[in-house]
Symmetry: C2
Subunit: 406 residues, 2 copies
Amino acid sequence: MDGNGAPLRCLFGVRVLDLTQFEAGPSCTEALAWLGAEVVKVENPKGGEPGRTSFAGPPNSPDSYYFFEFNANKKSVTIDLKSERGRALVKELAKKADVMIENMAPGTIERLGLGYEAIRALNPGIVYAQVKGFGEGSPYEHNLAFDMIAQACGGTMSITGEPDGPPIKPGPSLGDTGTGMLMAISILGALYERRATGQGRRLQVAMQDAMLHYIRFAFQTQAATGKPAGRVGSKSGSTVAPSGLYPCAPGGPNDYVYVFARQRDHWDRLLKVLGREDLIGDPRYATPAARAEREAEVNAMVADWTKRRDKHEAMRVIGAAGVPAGAVLDTMELMNEPNFEERGILQVAEHPSGPFKMPSWPVRFDGKPPLLRPAPLLGQHKEEVLSEWLGLGAADIADLERDGVI
Amino acid sequence: MDGNGAPLRCLFGVRVLDLTQFEAGPSCTEALAWLGAEVVKVENPKGGEPGRTSFAGPPNSPDSYYFFEFNANKKSVTIDLKSERGRALVKELAKKADVMIENMAPGTIERLGLGYEAIRALNPGIVYAQVKGFGEGSPYEHNLAFDMIAQACGGTMSITGEPDGPPIKPGPSLGDTGTGMLMAISILGALYERRATGQGRRLQVAMQDAMLHYIRFAFQTQAATGKPAGRVGSKSGSTVAPSGLYPCAPGGPNDYVYVFARQRDHWDRLLKVLGREDLIGDPRYATPAARAEREAEVNAMVADWTKRRDKHEAMRVIGAAGVPAGAVLDTMELMNEPNFEERGILQVAEHPSGPFKMPSWPVRFDGKPPLLRPAPLLGQHKEEVLSEWLGLGAADIADLERDGVI
């Protein structure tokens, strides 16, 4: 019985040596772990990767909620990379790995003697992946970056906000997880190829570069207008009415419903909902362009109806009429929605520090998302991995522990 | 000579039957096409998929810039799904495909007789993928959705905007491309498994569900505070100073630089840049929490320096000092940056309607991103695909054309 998740073995037998930290790298390797790869985190014996402790966690837990979220279904091994024996151990593991991945500050992995050329010499079939803030060959390739730096330099902030306001950081951590997803796709492509050719690949992605992939709608806007894509608040970016957020009762900070009626039939259906069948076919409102010219009037018509309903009712009624509509839901509303748990989109990790409900991989395989297993404790799989991958015995491991290598 | 892109064959031999439209589906299949899969779009003979014509394009082009962006490296075949012979032809193609994918309105593919059960009966090894707005089993599973509906219902809008302002739609089309990337990862996992087992998979993703994957940072904030994650403008979401956008000369709408100095050494380095070495070690500013208490003062100190530089200089100087910093770049600045073209992050598609510069797949394989080939003209590969996949000859094809089936 696996409840609302299915234990996937799509990547059964694939070994991932994971030297990543925080989110861009860990979100990538977690995607591989959901699919059944054996992902082994290599962590500093003194406290582990910084994502464990940089944010808040449950009482008495050594690890943060943040760490739980981005490290589900993985294993953890502690190795001191400052020690020569530790680095030698990583090289031995790399010989047995199918994938090695890191997202350290620029130049760090090479200084450790664990760069691409060194690892490839030991294992020519390895898929070696690196996530950085800026691309090799960029004027900023030596610079540090976090999610928000990538979002500033990658264009996402310039297209987010009110038309007359400053740039806004999009709430989603696209610089991190958005980049991690593109690397996961690339690793999977390289693994597929490797089954046929036996050859490895060097993969590199920069968080700034990855942002361009997610703002292609804005690039087409620019191509069409000849001007940089601007900020449009909550509108869809095109000249359509109705298109945007409409206020709902009782007027709280997220009491809004999105309504978008571009197509003729959607507009006609919306008029029925609003009790304005008299306007169906009226040429003053017949096309998106005609309605956009009367945008204030059209918006008032919709808002007059929505503000007398709560957002859930507004979404239910407008959506059921066949018009695209969506209530603005906050994180608490999402977390407390039973339907997400029933469908396995939210699952509960049975972590030693207590149960923790969190988003799982949202794609369903034959009806169920992958099964959530809790993030590992620091070094939890040390013996298991060193034994299975390298054949080390209890005495070898005790020796490494005594010397502070693991 | 392939210039700044490499022709990848990672997915050589993988056949994808692509019945998707607009962005969520096409962004997914385009990822597979970049990696070398043979992606065949099945399109309506009367105008093709709506993404071709729903947006602006170059003069005299039948296709939009939008279509160019999301359909690179693919093939196009026209088939009339309203005709019985057309649907039979799709079934024949499905027998030869490794992957079939669709993102039509709820229930449409089943009404066409091309749903999962029907196709699986013909080809048990197929990976059958569906992208919808809402999940099967959700109260809204029959509802229509676009990117912004998914972003409203998936939480991304609730965490984007100013603390005292309304929700804002993030500029990136995360509801579409963000969802497409998760499906691409899942398809690749299923294909890897299939090489070992020969078994297919049914994959389903909902755009609303996919949004939860990208706002996990907000869920950890909620777990830590017990309250829904709020809106924080351009801050990083934590109580850190300096952390946010600072105004630069000459004061245009995107003249800002992001500066983030949480770590002690980053703050000390920033003080040197600002010419305030006198404050290094000063306990009033020594920790992120101490600085957050004096946020207005700290912000004024940084802004006083940034507003006397342009954003490029500010980023260059602060970044080179070892402090995370990023200028807000708009789409025009990104498109005109030669470095992106040199590195193959932007490439030029030699489309029959003229050259079009656009973002390529941003991950580099052994030094280069995949080679960009232009999006197909409507039906461009009709003869090629029907001949290679089904063995049809010129007479068969002429017959299907005459009857309006293809």
